[in-house]
């Protein structure tokens, strides 16, 4: 299990690539963002995005899955207070393969809860051509290593 102490500034985690599937773009859009460019290939091609594009909220959710599989699944994570900024830089299209990294930019122990650390990270999501599709600067609350627990 990884604890706050395992997240010094500069620490980097790589994402396991995930495939963006057309039916998942459509399903997410139908539930949360039913705009034509997200609902079908025809709607996407007719739009400024140029193809069947994932909702930015879907891209965010896919990034979250990559964060979970990248480090959170083995971390004493206690959630997040928020996101300083999210940039949707490029359309994420059906058939894309997303990957990327997240890097710790800052780490400090919470003043009000000394058993919790607040870690700031910057996640960069790229497509199969190496183009950056999203950049997200966010915070993660992570438990400090319990006293007496060897590293």
């Amino acid at each position: 299990m990884l604890y706050f102490e395992d997240f010094p500034a500069g620490k980097r985690f790589d994402f396991k690539p995930i495939a963006v599937k057309a039916d998942e773009i459509t399903a997410f859009a139908a539930e949360f963002d039913p705009q034509p460019m997200h609902l079908s290939e025809e709607g996407g091609k007719a739009s400024i995005l140029g193809g069947h594009a994932a909702s930015g909220w879907h891209t965010s959710a896919m990034m979250m899955r990559m964060l979970c599989d990248g480090y959170i699944h083995e971390t004493a994570s206690e959630g997040s207070p928020g996101v300083d900024s999210m940039e949707w830089k490029k359309a994420v299209l059906a058939g894309d393969i997303l990957s990327g990294t997240c890097t710790v930019t800052e780490a400090r122990v919470s003043r009000s809860r000394p058993e919790i650390g607040i870690v700031k990270l910057s996640a960069v999501v790229k497509n199969q051509r190496g183009e950056t599709v999203a950049i997200c600067d966010y915070a993660n609350m992570i438990r400090c290593r319990p006293t007496g627990d060897a590293a």
Binding site: A61, R65, C68, G82, S85
Partner: protein, 155 residues
Amino acid sequence: MKLAELHPEGTRETIGSVHFTAEDIIRFAGKYDPQPFHLDAEAAKNSLFGGLCASGWHTCAGWMKCFVPYWMGEIRRLAEQGIAAPKLGPSPGFRDMRWLRPVFAGDTITYFVTFVSAKDLESRPGWRINTILCEGENQEGQPVIRFESKVIEFP
């Protein structure tokens, strides 16, 4: 008509509500945010949140779920008055998102949008970038989410 002309600065519009069932929370989390406090009511009791709660990204998606039909309604409402609604395009992103309180299973979140400001894009005549404040409150009137979103507007 420009977005800036539609709503006076600072006027908060209610855009709709989403009820978060345990089933919806677990389904979203299983796919996109599989952490124990979003998946398992028992495990969630031992977390800082204290109970099964929605992924923050699920709470965000709920805002969009309300905004799209709200905006379609605005386009129809304006058309009936003979007014062409502002042409809104994709969003380049958002900033200062705060998940202020957990959204627990059984909560109903009401979402709001407030027009904040508009800026002309120098590189593309007629195009603007709008800043809007997006918020959500639970059934007790407690704020659960807030963020500032950017929206492109075409001539």
